[in-house]
């Protein structure tokens, strides 16, 4: 709460998104609120990616990490504590978003809370770990910001977090099946609308946990305490291996079309059909 930038990006911005989504795109359609809330929850979780990478690079550039280096704290403990604190700080925003969706936008029901909880947990750790990878393979804040923006915009616009997946062109939909953000958005929408619990989210959770594990191990290996220590070229190749679980899942999804059909059904059920009915009413 002491850091105004953190307060803005982690609390104020996601809540502002909720008001924009539910207030403007939802157009008073209560049935659309769970669908839109799932998108906002996904954006909040995805924010971990940006926040953690910037924090770590800032600490490295300012020489703060150097001070930790002479203590018995190792790179893995340092990264794990960053992930944990990031997770703990994300949870209140999630709760506030639920509260606002329920009390201001009159959302009916709360979805499958167990499903939402495990997706938020696995998602936060997974996206934060991807942030750690970015911090590991960049040397300066400028480099970090450029890579973050490229990845962030892809996640933001091609995963269904802003533009619903069924509205994207078919080719883009196929590409989005290889993005971790797509599985987070889709999983949250299924938990919110179809009340799907953790047991039915096996593919989403496995890919996210797998990605988090690989990303964490690579980050711990490539971790640099000192701004002087430059990243070796082979590190960038290592870093790419963190997306292997999503490449496998993407290939599988492309073949069977499960995610796209779920996504289309949820969109039609909560946004498209109620809007059509609203338009038909005199």
């Amino acid at each position: 709460m002491r850091n105004r930038a953190f307060l803005f990006f982690s609390l104020i911005m996601p809540i502002a998104f909720l008001f924009i989504y539910a207030g403007i795109f939802g157009k008073g359609n209560r049935q659309a609120v769970p669908y839109l809330l799932a998108e906002v929850l996904a954006l909040t979780v995805m924010g971990s990616f940006w926040g953690l990478s910037v924090q770590l690079v800032t600490f490295r550039e300012q020489g703060i990490l150097r001070r930790f280096r002479i203590t018995p704290v190792g790179a893995s403990a340092m990264l794990a504590s960053s992930l944990l604190s990031n997770y703990i700080l994300t949870l209140p925003t999630i709760v506030i978003e639920f509260f606002l969706a329920r009390w201001i936008f009159h959302m009916t029901g709360l979805g499958n809370l167990a499903g939402v909880f495990v997706l938020v947990t696995a998602g936060t750790i997974s996206f934060a770990s991807l942030g750690l990878i970015v911090a590991s393979v960049t040397n300066t804040m400028q480099e970090t910001q450029i890579i973050n923006q490229i990845i962030w915009f892809v996640f933001l616009f091609l995963s269904g977090a802003t533009i619903p997946l069924p509205l994207l062109p078919k080719m883009v939909q196929t590409f989005s099946l290889y993005l971790p953000a797509t599985y987070l958005v889709s999983g949250l929408q299924r938990s919110m609308i179809d009340l799907v619990g953790p047991a039915s989210l096996g593919a989403e959770l496995t890919s996210m946990v797998g990605c988090a594990l690989i990303a964490f191990l690579i980050s711990a290996q490539l971790f640099r305490w000192d701004a002087e220590a430059k990243v070796p070229r082979r590190a960038k190749i290592w870093a790419i291996s963190a997306i292997i679980p999503f490449l496998l899942l993407g290939a599988w999804e492309t073949a069977n079309g499960r995610l796209r059909s779920h996504s289309l059904k949820d969109f039609n059920q909560t946004v498209e059909e109620p809007s059509r009915l609203q338009l038909r009413q005199p």
Partner: protein
């Protein structure tokens, strides 16, 4: 090397690309001793101390701290050392007491935050953010953090660099307190005053090599640097006559004073008194200025420390 050595360094080498920053440095620091690495910027002091702290991997040589290898002993090594780094910081929004609590929590054995706050005069600033501290307060916090685990060996890399003289003296008082506790301390500095006041022994480092080592007194005695004798006389004297006194290498007359540069001070004084008696002249005042470490550095390298 003596068996009581807490820090041992033998033929230490560190290269950065084609540049050899540390070129076969050797020294040892006894337990309870305050040892200084004195040299200009870029002499290899920080590289040496950072290898001792385990932050840099040596390219050659051998070193041990409290009997442990910094690169191989991991947590056990880090539990016995404390350090104040040259280029470091804390998060701006971290409070002073939080920093001490957090860093203390990393160690199995720790000093209480209240004790450290009191000892380093930070009680009033306990709730202040790091960004609100002055340079001197930040440095005192860095020293408090270096002691948070009650270490056996303490490394202070340029602990007073960039501080004004008054704050620097405050830091000296703190380090002198540590000295009384018989802590083993390694200080790097380019301030002569700091080395002379705080260190039991000093190694003068230049271009990655130790060029002289010993107590400040030994270094001065061993050195060929001359002592300046400033005398004021009742009547003017002949410059040439004073120049021939035993031990005098040079004599200069300056605004009613004579500056005699001597390599044999007692003999020069005896010869001076004898000469004045013969000439019926009288000595009004006499002041002896021993060569400083700066003079010794100049003699050894042909450069001043801050060149």
């Amino acid at each position: 090397m003596p068996s009581t050595a807490a820090i041992e360094v033998e033929n230490l080498v560190k290269r950065y690309g084609n540049v050899e920053a540390v070129r076969g440095v050797s020294f040892s620091v006894n337990e309870g001793e305050v040892f200084g690495l004195l040299g200009p910027n870029g002499a290899g002091k920080t590289s040496t101390v950072e290898m001792l702290e385990g932050m840099r991997v040596p390219d050659g040589g051998r070193l041990s701290v409290c009997g442990l290898d910094p690169q191989r002993s991991g947590g056990e090594f880090k539990n016995v050392i404390g350090a104040s780094l040259q280029a470091t910081a804390l998060p701006d929004k971290m409070r002073v007491r939080e920093a001490l609590d957090l860093f203390g929590s990393f160690y199995p054995r720790r000093k209480s935050t209240a004790e450290l706050l009191k000892r380093f005069g930070l009680e009033e600033k306990r709730n202040a953010f790091y960004s609100q501290l002055s340079g001197g307060q930040k440095q005192r916090l860095a020293l408090a953090m270096a002691l948070v685990n009650d270490p056996r060996a303490i490394f202070l890399d340029e602990p007073t660099a960039g501080l004004d003289p008054q704050v620097r003296r405050e830091i000296y008082d703190v380090i002198e307190e540590l000295k009384k506790e018989k802590k083993t301390i390694l200080i790097t500095t380019h301030y002569i005053e700091e080395a002379e006041r705080l260190c039991d022994r000093v190694a003068i480092v230049d271009h990655g090599k130790v060029i002289a080592i010993g107590t400040p007194r030994e270094l001065k005695e061993r050195s060929g640097a001359v002592t300046r004798i400033t005398v004021r006389l009742a009547q003017p004297e002949n410059n040439g006559a004073l120049n021939t006194l035993e031990g005098v290498t040079e004599c200069r007359a300056e605004t009613g004073e004579y500056l005699l540069y001597s390599t044999k001070v007692p003999r020069t004084i005896v010869a001076l008194v004898k000469h004045l008696e013969e000439k019926n002249n009288e000595l009004v005042s006499l002041e002896i200025s021993a060569p400083s470490l700066e003079d010794i550095f100049l003699e050894l390298t042909g450069r001043r420390l801050r060149d």
